[in-house]
């Protein structure tokens, strides 16, 4: 009834869609960071799946050099290893930016931060805020 490949592909697709949907639909900056981590996990899973091979062994020689058994592709695994480590660097950098934003503006809602930022820029340039050419959003959420 279940095919293993379809289960794993469904999991990777679901993680990517949930993560990107959370990033697009959420308004809280911290939750957008969590959504970024989840989308990254889905992308990593899909990359490793692309190099998988049935009934092959891990790409590590254990027995002898002469008779190398069938192995999975090591190139996507190396790429994913790099991606995971860079992902945590990006996560830490984003967290420091979020902490600075909260110290400066006192809120973490994306739209409030944007309004306060535009107010600050307008104050700096001695412009009234209405003359800036930002289209007004009229959605309710």
């Amino acid at each position: 009834m279940f095919d293993i490949a379809s289960i794993l592909f469904a999991g990777a697709t679901g993680l990517l869609v949930i993560g990107i949907g959370g990033m697009v639909l959420s308004e809280h900056l911290y939750r957008m960071l969590l959504a970024l981590a989840i989308a990254e996990a889905g992308a990593n899973l899909m990359l490793v799946l692309a190099g998988f091979k049935w009934s092959a062994s891990a790409p590590i020689i254990t027995v002898s050099v002469e008779s190398i058994p069938a192995m999975v592709d090591p190139v996507p695994q190396a790429m994913v290893l790099t991606a995971i480590v860079i992902g945590v660097g990006v996560q830490a950098l984003a967290l420091t930016m979020i902490i600075r934003i909260r110290n400066a503006y006192g809120t973490l809602n994306m739209r409030e931060v944007k309004l306060k930022m535009e107010q600050e820029f307008a104050d700096m340039a001695d412009l009234p805020i209405e003359t800036r050419s930002v289209p007004a959003r009229n959605d309710q959420s």
């Binding site: 293993i4 049935w54 062994s57 891990a58 254990t62």
Partner: protein, 91 residues
């Protein structure tokens, strides 16, 4: 197809482990407040460590035991950090 031959004992182990995972997931989904969910996640991580050791047994390859070791230690540290955050929240 998967290259793994399971006997009866392995199936019993899979059944027990799967039911444990489902019960922990149940508590994680329902848990009324945050400490319940953290404890449920800790239980999940312990069962997952056991399943890593089991997969090392199936693949007949002791290299996978390193993954279980690292996972067990670092999940403990993560749970301790979350618990410290809760402690600060209550004082």
């Amino acid at each position: 197809m998967t290259g793994i031959n399971l006997n009866m004992a392995d199936m019993v182990v899979i059944l027990l482990m799967g039911s444990g995972l489902i019960l922990s997931l149940w508590r994680f989904l329902l848990g009324p407040n945050a400490p319940d969910r953290i404890v449920a996640a800790d239980t999940l991580s312990i069962i997952i460590t056991a399943s890593l050791v089991l997969m090392s047994f199936w693949f007949d390859n002791p290299m996978y035991l390193d993954v279980a070791l690292i996972y067990g230690v670092l999940a403990f540290i993560g749970v301790v950090a979350l618990a410290r955050a809760i402690e600060k929240g209550q004082s």
